[in-house]
Amino acid sequence: MAEQEYDVIIIGSGAGGGMATHQLANAGLKVALVEAGAYYDPADEEQRTQLRYPWESPRRGASTRLRPFGDYNSCIGGWELDGEPYTMKDDTDFMWWRGRMLGGRTNHWGRISLRFGPLDFKRKDSDGLGDNWPIGYEDIKPYYDKVDKLIGVYGSNEGLYNDPDGFFLPAPKPRLHELYYIDGAKKSGVPVYPARKSILTKRINNDRGVCFYCSQCSRACGIHADFSSGTVLIYPAIRGGQVDLYTNSMVREIITDEEGLATGVSYINKEDRLEYQLKGRSVVLAASACSSARILLNSRSAQHSNGLGNNSDHVGRYLHDSTGASRAAFLPELMDREIYNEDGVGGMHVYTPWWLEDAKLDFTRGYHLEIGGGMGMPSYGFGFAVNQYNDFIGERVGGYGNQLRDDIRKFYGSRLSIACRGESVPQYTNRCELDPTVVDEWGIPVLRFDYHWTEHEINQARHMQDTMEELLEASGGILLGSKAGADRDYGLTKPGEIIHEVGTTRMGTDPATSVTNEFGQLHDASNVFIADAGPFVSQADKNPTWTIMALAWRQSDYLIEQMTQGNL
């Protein structure tokens, strides 16, 4: 490999790394983009899973360890990766999802694209917990606006203070089960709005197509009508000629000089298992909150004896994920419904943002509601417990023979579900750190997680359960399953399970209690930046992707300015 020195080495090709690549390469910087997984393009017939029928898979779309979200999901990665373990301290039960592909986890996320609001950056001001961000909504708003226009997000301007307006594409009309939900929520005095998702309901440029409503964003879109980092940010950047892409390249550490500044990165080529180095004037770390923390902690040197950027001992701390809980109901009014093509966009057309900001509750911080249901394409699991709802209509459950065909049709599309996603309170003690003894197959020390929910999250989950019951019943539903009680922490998901982990390299003005400044620049090494969700001080009840990209764009502007001024 030539002794080329890159202007920037970007580690990780997900939302943050993709945006950094797009902005920095377009500004004329020479960029190396290093990704631990393989090249991926959903438009490539060899990699296509979109528009396939269930029988094109021998397991009819069932999940496997290699595709935990189903056989057609575009994820390559998962909760367990061969050769890449992680460990848990004491009774911690953390789930860590890692994407291993170009575009990272943006290939298979829900495309829910929510801006944080003014309150979300200053939560300590309202509840005294955790910390405020060093920036406010006004600092990031211009970048949210740019992200909206560059990438495209459908939604609606509603004038909600903490769910700010933006530059939205028009929303898809609600499906039938969503109309039932809207009416039910109205009865309960709970607001409902068009969802906000980065799916192109209208053309945004001549490179990407317009949604053709197959509902399969989770399989990645062949005409790039949904957002993924690869299709929307990285391919255009590569076409500009300023990007060298290194795939299947697992970064071991960031190399620093005697002044403590980064000079490059060291990575293992997974194909030949040999170690290589890249030289760079600066490094943008965007490997995901936990992976970036791991790389920093593994980048030890005389100047950074506790790991790069870790003089404060804050790398890996304040790790937090969204809370979650869910419930479903059977809607008798949707029995025997007429069947038509109701696929729509991938996921919900409507949602409920947090509506109780001013209420007196026994927990702090809110959650939003995601609505599910409809006449989806059958896949593995469809038809299990085929006529269990017979219980609700006075008919016998079970049996055999052709009457089961009638049962299938009778109950098809009669389910309404709600999933809640909430904000947790960041904790100093919730963290990932290096396991002192365990390494992965390349000999790199792995992460050990130490994470416990607090009463805030558990009380919030109880409130979620009450809300979901009320709304499902108000929508005409008969609740399914039993309500999760205290013995099950009210159905609260495991930490990590929602795959919104943030906070491991939080930003702040004080180098003693934070890892980066407001631009994601390490306090301890000025030419190293973090562009994933690690710098989040708190996470809001909003999915983090839009904020990752707005921050990465803002960071890129700052990085270019610093480089222009000769500071890097």
Binding site: Y53, P194, Y400
Partner: protein, 235 residues
Amino acid sequence: MDRRETLKTLFLAPLAGGIIARSGQAKSASDVSWTALPTSYSYGRTEAEQQRDATLFAESYFREHELLTIAVLCDIILPSNHPNGGALDAGLPDFVEFMVKDRSRYKLPIRGGIAWLDNYAIEKFAADFITVSEPQRLAICDDIAYPDMEDAELQPGISFFSLMRNFTMTGYYTTELGLKDLGYVGNTPNVWDGVPERVLQQHGKQYDAQWLSKCVDQSRKEIIAEWDDDGNLTS
């Protein structure tokens, strides 16, 4: 005529015919045959996935008697005497064979369930399940096809039958026959412009005008989006 004679491969003609096995008894359930499912697939797999699937297909789990029992049960659960075919036309025994290898936690419950079923048939009718007469088989199914049966002795059979019903329904409704039977019409490029008016009327629902004003005008979807400074769409 034994209705199984009519099964064969009426509905999935392009696929190869399945195995036919006989126990030597006239009009036996073991005359059953089914459509064979493909053993190679191509749908965007990684190398690791291709290797895993090849390993699964190379493995053989069920014994012939077990496969025949699965076939006979699946045929009872979703018979082929229907214009859209049934379980055997959808290759159910092959599907179950693959799924238990893919999800090995199902191996034992099905193997053990078949053994339980044979024991029960022998106790009741002095022969294993596929050897007893058709009315006797249906009598056995009547004992175990309903979860509300409280007889403790039947519970393992009820559990097994429920599992087989799950596999049969999911295995059938994820084939072309099943989608046709259901009437599924999605998985194809289209333009979603809301619930059809007649369906709205059937359900007493209507779209709120203010909400509709936020929704996409499909006649303008190809016009590149532009906004004014306040975020109002202008194109």
